[in-house]
């Protein structure tokens, strides 16, 4: 048992480290290091612009999507090499945020279901950040129940005509292409009538509207489709097989979103170490110590769980199901930690931003953003279902709409 690289891994790490040292935008290092939660905002630069420059440089150096085959813009790297690269890329990895959906979800789906021509045309530009992709799955009527989606695609000659609405689309406003799941047959049960496409986001009839979120920010969009035309050649998988195609995408979603998880623990530990209360330092208080200790072992438990997965990759094995716990643990932790930090501040904990004097509103921001961490990329409840069913082997839910034609499924709980 050890934490050491194999000689090959050490050599690879050395190469990666030297390249990052020679090429990374060091002027952004401190700012990137201090932002730990949610979307990255840079004071004097646009994240998409800076991100594109970094991604292009990486592509030229052979470090973009490095686990992809060379002919599609990658490096043909092994899974463990990808992990080592992520470790060495460090804080600069945050610059790749605009590309993560494309890299983690859209790319693998095109790779699995696209034609050879598609792969050669789209994947290298996706990898190099020249073209950005978004994922158009969630709808107002279908979040956790993705298969309940209603956006229609109707065939007209060699084209498909799209009408409907998507929601929670990150980066739709700066994306060039989108991966779109639609309903092509409402007369069959819901999982059977779906079909996957990709489309040019600048197609006529596509309208992107930002969503103002509960935390006051705007990071996601609604996307409306009015008679949008998609050629049949941009279909991924068979007509009616969209559900299976989407499983490829979503499987990759949970892998990629779990990669860099903020828990809030380093922040609360530092906060309690320095916060003077009427009874002395917060960290000397019994109740506070108990909470800190519980969070500490969750944070270390997640860290060493990921080390176990990395060890499996290093041996050329598939990681076990342990990694599925990450987001479930981290999301609740963020919310609890934020609440506790503000409790320690007392009445002044109500203040936000620069008006909050201890940490300039760090925990208040965490409080307002943390609900999304428990929803995006699979709600806590869906993640528990996945653990229960796929890891523990418990039965799936009884699905009352399973054998019912989609257009006969009730649409409201109370009428």
């Amino acid at each position: 048992m050890n934490f050491d690289d194999t000689p090959q891994e050490a050599a690879f790490r050395e190469t990666a480290r030297a390249w990052v040292a020679a090429n990374a935008p060091k002027d952004l290092e401190a700012e990137l290091a201090s932002s730990s939660l949610g979307r990255i905002r840079l004071k004097h630069a646009d994240i998409v612009e800076v991100g594109k420059a970094w991604q292009k440089k990486k592509a030229e150096g052979g470090w973009a999507c490095l686990h992809w085959p060379r002919e599609y813009g990658g490096r043909g790297a092994t899974p463990i090499e990808r992990v080592i690269w992520q470790q060495e890329e460090g804080v600069y990895g945050k610059l790749t945020q605009p590309f993560q959906i494309g890299e983690g979800m859209c790319g693998p789906t095109v790779m699995a279901y696209g034609s050879e021509a598609h792969k050669r045309r789209y994947l290298p530009k996706l990898a190099s950040g020249e073209e950005i992709w978004c994922q158009l799955f969630s709808e107002p009527a279908g979040g956790s129940d993705v298969a309940g989606l209603r956006t229609r695609a109707e065939q007209r000659g060699d084209d498909w005509i799209i009408n409907g609405q998507k929601i929670w689309t990150s980066g739709a406003h700066y994306s060039d292409y989108g991966l779109l799941i639609t309903r092509t047959d409402p007369n069959v049960p819901k999982h059977k009538g779906l079909t996957m496409f990709f489309l040019d986001m600048k197609s006529p009839g596509v309208e992107v509207r930002p969503i103002k979120q509960a935390n006051g920010m705007q990071e996601f969009n609604e996307v409306y489709f009015t008679d949008v035309v998609i050629p049949d050649s941009q279909r991924l998988g068979a007509v009616g097989d969209g559900w299976n195609v989407s499983l490829t995408t979503l499987m990759n979603e949970r892998m990629s979103i779990g990669a860099r998880l903020a828990t809030g623990f380093p922040e609360i530990f530092e906060f309690c170490t320095n916060l003077m209360t009427d009874n002395g330092l917060a960290i000397d208080d019994r109740a506070t110590r108990s909470k800190l200790a519980s969070w500490a072992v969750k944070a270390s438990g997640l860290k060493y769980t990921s080390y176990r997965a990395i060890s499996a990759l290093s041996k050329g094995e598939r990681p076990g199901p342990e990694n599925s716990i990450g987001k479930l643990v981290a999301g609740v932790m963020l919310q609890d930690i934020a609440t506790y930090a503000m409790d320690l501040e007392g009445a002044a904990g109500v203040l936000t931003g620069a008006d909050e004097q201890v940490t300039q509103g760090q925990f208040q921001q965490m409080l307002l953003t943390s609900p999304s961490m428990r929803i995006a990329g699979g709600t806590d409840e869906i993640l528990r279902n996945i653990i229960a069913e796929r890891v523990l082997g418990l039965p799936g839910d009884i699905r009352v709409d399973k054998d019912v034609p989609f257009n006969k499924v009730p649409t409201r709980g109370r009428s």
Binding site: A293, V297, G301, Y304, K315
Partner: protein, 375 residues
């Protein structure tokens, strides 16, 4: 990175699991639970024959000289099977103290007997209510003669070798504490068995009356040795707790698959599924923390104190969580004596206290993290 047990170590774990499945089924545990024997003598003999007792003891002292990673995988199986033998007192505590601080003569005298199963050992630390602290040790050791009472002492009524924490000065410093070695058969110590939460592992009150004792380790070094030994035992116990957590989770899962209510397996209800998923999360965090502890223990890393506290807290939380929710999944049947759920519940809550309770280890962890951050 190779943050995992080796194939040989995993093989040893499988071997231990098979052995325990055969020799230590729940009905064997119940013989001790029901008070028909103080511990399972045949199983203890089997442990010696399998080499489990001396796996981490050097060959020159009669052991296998394998190491602590090997001991960790055995501990996991001991915990999973609820083995009713004095394994933790003898191996994690008495043998560890001897290996850390014993003279060569003391090691020669006792370690081979531990490895062969001839001697049961224990560590007499506590004196009534409270957590480990030099202040709490009052048992007097003037001129190497012990006078005082230790309680509770795990496996105290069946121990041949007793390591005793005693007071040799009263300056208010840690150096007031020294360790002593007592041969229980030599007289001067009376044992009284006590009733306890988990009857599959006995507890006793030991009364020392002008009891002759040998010093163990340098005088005044007692507290320093105690903290090191508690850290080592915390990691090893964490593996017992991880084994128990996994078994409690499996029992809950199996019952949820078999039990039908409202016309469907109860494992198809989300309320039950989510409870089991949360148990899996706790058990996984505990296992990963315990692996970190195992790494620190086996390499004698400077991180050991922090890793030990993390292992201890995470494993204690996970086992308590899994054991209580296993009963909940079983419903009324889980509250019967006949079902095994309560044996895990008892063991989980007894192990949570034995080396100092959760609040003690939380304090230790935070102190140790602060020290590292300040450095």
């Amino acid at each position: 990175m190779n943050f995992d047990f080796s194939d040989d170590q995993k093989q040893l774990r499988d071997q231990a699991r098979k052995f325990l499945a055969e020799k230590c089924p729940p009905k064997a545990v119940r013989v001790v639970l029901d008070g028909q024997a103080p511990y399972d003598r045949a199983l203890w003999k089997g442990f010696a024959e399998m080499g489990f007792l001396g796996v981490a003891i050097p060959e020159e002292y009669g052991g296998a000289g394998a190491g602590h990673l090997e001991l960790c995988v055995i501990a996991e199986e001991v915990g999973r099977a609820l083995a009713p033998v004095p394994f933790s007192s003898t191996v994690y505590l008495a043998a560890e103290v001897l290996m850390l601080a014993g003279s060569d003569a003391q090691k020669q005298a006792w370690l081979p007997k531990i490895a062969s199963g001839e001697a049961i050992g224990t560590f007499a630390l506590f004196e009534g209510t409270g957590n480990p602290s030099p202040k709490a040790i009052r048992l007097d050791a003037a001129n190497g003669v012990l006078n005082g009472v230790k309680t509770p002492v795990a496996d105290g009524a069946i121990a041949d070798l007793i390591i005793v924490a005693a007071r040799t000065a009263s300056t208010g410093r840690d150096s007031d504490i020294s360790l002593f070695l007592v041969d229980a058969k030599a007289g001067g110590v009376d044992a009284k068995a006590l009733t306890n939460l988990d009857p599959t592992r006995g507890q006793a009150e030991l009364t020392f009356k002008t009891c002759k004792a040998e010093p163990l380790g340098a005088p005044g070094e007692g507290w320093s040795i105690i903290t090191q030994v508690l850290d080592r035992a915390a990691v090893l116990t964490a593996f017992e707790q991880v084994g128990g957590s996994d078994r409690a989770l499996e029992m809950g899962r199996d019952y949820a698959l078999d039990r039908i209510a409202f016309g469907r397996p109860i494992g198809s209800f989300q309320a039950v599924k989510h409870m089991l998923a949360d148990m899996y999360v706790s058990a996984t965090l505990a296992r990963s923390n315990a692996y970190y502890g195992a790494w620190a223990l086996s390499t004698n890393a400077p991180e050991l104190p922090e890793a030990a506290a993390s292992s201890r807290i995470s494993a204690t939380q996970a086992y308590q969580h899994c054991a209580k929710n296993n009963i909940q999944v079983h419903g009324g049947m889980g509250f019967t004596w006949e079902f095994d759920c309560h044996m895990y519940y008892r063991r989980a809550n007894a192990l949570a206290l034995g080396l100092g309770s959760l609040s003690y280890w939380e304090d230790q962890l935070i102190d140790r993290m602060r020290k590292r951050n300040a450095a």
